[in-house]
Amino acid sequence: MAPKTKKSKKSKKEESMIDFVEEEVTGDVDEGDFEEEPEDVVESSDEDEPPKKKKKVIKKEVKQELELTDEKLQELLEKYEASKSAATKTKDDFKHLPKSQRGKALKKALRKDKRARQEERSKIRDELGESAPQKEVPKTIESMREYDATMVDEQDDEVEHDEANDEFAPYFNRETTPKVMITMTPKAKITTFKFCFELQKCIPNSEIFTRKNVLLKTIIEQAKEREFTDLLVVHEDRKKPNGIIFCHLPEGPTAYFKINSLTFTQDLKKFGESTAHFPEVILNNFNTRLGHNIARMLACLFPHDPKFTGRRVVTFHNQRDYIFFRHHRYEFKKEGTKAALLELGPRFTLRLKWLQKGTFDAKWGEFEWVLKRHEMETSRRRFFL
């Protein structure tokens, strides 16, 4: 059966338009027939004949179902396809309304029409049972993402070679252990400090220093001397953290993220106390070459061997170029089939603004990638990470 149905589908796609037209015509005829039939029944009101007829009809139908399943199947499939295709209402149907109401009425009618067709399809699906055509995958912005040539293929020798020799290679070769310095803008306000302490809670082996009006370039030099591997600088605007500079030491690169929708631990509905165990790190959806770089950079913040007894997880989830940060403790329920999550840390969203080669030097440095808002953001379906 399966191959036959497939064939029929194909043929339908090719001739769908013609079928559609034909069906419209036949539908009209059917309606006419229905109108006529009851009249006949009324006329032929003899006692014996109608039940017999009905029985015969039923038998015939059963036989037909057994014999002509293919044809019926095709018919149903055709109907299914027809209900999928365009709506029956057009704007010409609302010419009797004043102009200001037409658009609204059309929208309403179309929505109604859509629902009706959906129901029709679901009915047909029930009738078809197993041989029903597959449901279409919903079209989302992500699934319709624009083609990106830089998507990383796992078996790409050249990218592998490039990554084996980049600035993060020492960390991934286990030559260095992460040691993170967290600092902030000069004269930072209380919320920024709070955010820094939250960050310290998430990132093991990190230290907070107040900025004290020291230049960032001198801080970098001093951090290099003390063998820090990463530097985080929290920027604030209107007394709230709004950006973060993330500089990998000693050779760079430097990235600038915008911070969005920050929620502190205290403001969460339910939260737990963090522990000192090394967390596991989940990096989700970083697929392009740039995304890979950012993911490697973020991974460098955390120590190598997570302590699984602590059951702590730090998640960086990328969705439409926004990186969601979450911090949880998980717990396996009975027999390990389910897991419960308890949120521990702050919640925030990061958005990459630029990535610069080398340590922080915004004026003279070379930028590897810059988000140019009006030049690059011409499509809603284009993503860079």
Partner: protein
């Protein structure tokens, strides 16, 4: 291969623009970016069959395009830092390292002569017209050197201090001779390009500002007065050296710093590479991005061949346009710099050219008049045609009306006869039905 690209990992790539693909010309796995990074790349001969490559560990290699073979020639010794500039003049290779040692090597890889041009060199480039090179860099003013004697020919003076009386830092990123004009172009990190005329003065004769980020590289184009420049966030602009204010246009598409641009000598094309890992080819006339090739690694240097696979189709058409453009204003600018004898020689030819040009213009005018007549004539005809059509329509209407009258009569009398009537005109059938209902 149309484009040769040197990467920071040390890979040499050949890109085929026709197919939008690239190919690695050496094995990648054995490369070590710390020693093999390509820092400089030039054509070794004018036929463009060999490329001279300088690597981070100061090895010079010769790459043969036809045989895909790479041969090590020599290793530069003395001084420190990477090779910042290469130049080739008849069997002699000129190298310049970051600490300022300029060395001339003969074909037996021996040092012929050596001199210093000061530390912090960012660029050294040779001239195609005379035996000179230009050097410049961080805190190292622009200087030109004679190759035969090793003497300094000319040196620039820093621009005057700013309005606060502070010295303006010297941060040269790129410098080159402009052929045919005897001028030198300098790009700085202060988002400014300066044009020097060594015969006139030591300070720049023209300054061109571009956006707000350091300018990383420049390139010549097919037109004598136009140059390309790009900065550290991937903005590339086309400039006219005679103007002072704005770039002629800005090219879109780059995401990161551009390290090298290569303009085509005869066609309005330019290839650019940078650390955003893309090779891009722009059309300078339409200002559009034609090709974009993802090369997987950060790219340092690009060379564009004269013979491109994409040019074969439109070569002839485009060439004519360029020739016309050059005759239009190319000579005007050249007149000022040329000797009197040359000018006379040119003038004679030009006059001939002028007469050649003049005659077709007259013809064209005549032709255009003819065209107008021709165009007008069919217009009149159209009008004439239109009129009968309208008349015809009217006639048809009249006919229909007559038929309707007939049908009415027929309806009254007999039914079978009107079937025969309906077969003749199509329009009548619809109206006929209406009439029936009325009846």
């Amino acid at each position: 291969m149309d484009c040769y690209v040197g990467a920071t990992t040390g890979a040499l790539k050949g890109a085929l623009l026709k197919d939008n693909t690239f190919e690695n010309l050496n094995e990648i796995k054995s490369l070590d970016p710390k020693s093999d990074e390509i820092t400089s790349m030039i054509w070794s001969d004018e036929q463009q069959t060999e490329i001279l490559i300088a690597r981070m560990n100061r090895d010079l290699q010769l790459f043969d395009i036809e045989q895909n073979e790479q041969v090590s020639i020599l290793t530069v010794t003395g001084g420190t830092g990477a090779i910042k500039g290469l130049h080739k003049t008849d069997e002699k290779i000129l190298t310049c390292v970051e600490s300022g040692e300029i060395q001339i090597w003969n074909d037996k890889s021996e040092v012929v002569s050596e001199w210093k041009c000061g530390p912090g060199v960012a660029i050294m480039r040779g001239s195609e017209e005379k035996p000179e090179v230009v050097t410049g860099g961080m805190k190292n003013l622009l200087k030109t050197w004679n190759l035969e004697t090793g003497q300094q020919v000319w040196s620039a003076r820093n621009v005057p201090p700013d309005m606060l009386g502070l010295e303006i830092p010297i941060m040269i990123t790129d410098a080159r001779f402009i052929p045919g004009q005897n001028t030198i172009l300098e790009a700085t990190k202060l988002h400014e390009m300066r044009v020097y005329d060594p015969r006139a003065q030591r300070r720049p004769v023209n300054k061109l500002k571009f956006m707000e980020n350091p300018i990383m590289c420049t390139s010549l184009t097919n037109k004598t007065n136009q140059i390309l420049a790009a900065n550290s966030i991937g903005e590339m602009g086309l400039f006219d050296l005679r103007s002072k204010v704005h770039p002629m246009c800005k090219f879109k598409g780059q995401a990161g710093s551009i390290r090298s641009i290569a303009g085509h000598p005869t066609m309005p094309l330019a290839a650019s590479v940078g650390i955003d890992r893309f090779l891009r080819v722009h059309d300078l006339q339409t200002r559009k991005l034609i090709h974009k090739i993802y090369c997987k690694t950060r790219l340092n240097r690009v060379l564009l061949r004269n013979e491109l696979s994409i040019l074969n189709d439109r070569k002839n058409a485009a060439k004519k346009e360029i020739d016309e453009d050059e005759t239009e204003y190319g000579n005007m600018t050249q007149d000022g710099y040329r000797d009197s004898e040359d000018e006379d020689g040119d003038d004679v030819i030009e006059e001939d050219d002028v007469w050649d040009v003049m005659e077709p213009v007259k013809k064209k005018q005549k032709m255009s008049e003819d065209d107008v007549e021709i165009v007008e004539a069919p217009m009149e005809e159209d009008d004439e045609e239109d009129v009968p059509e309208k008349k015809k329509k009217n006639l048809r209407k009249r006919k229909v009306i007559q038929e309707e009258e007939i049908k009415e009569e027929l309806d009254d009398s007999d039914e079978p006869d009107d079937v025969a009537v309906t077969k003749k005109p199509k329009k009548a059938s619809g109206k006929k039905k209406v009439l029936k209902k009325r009846a």
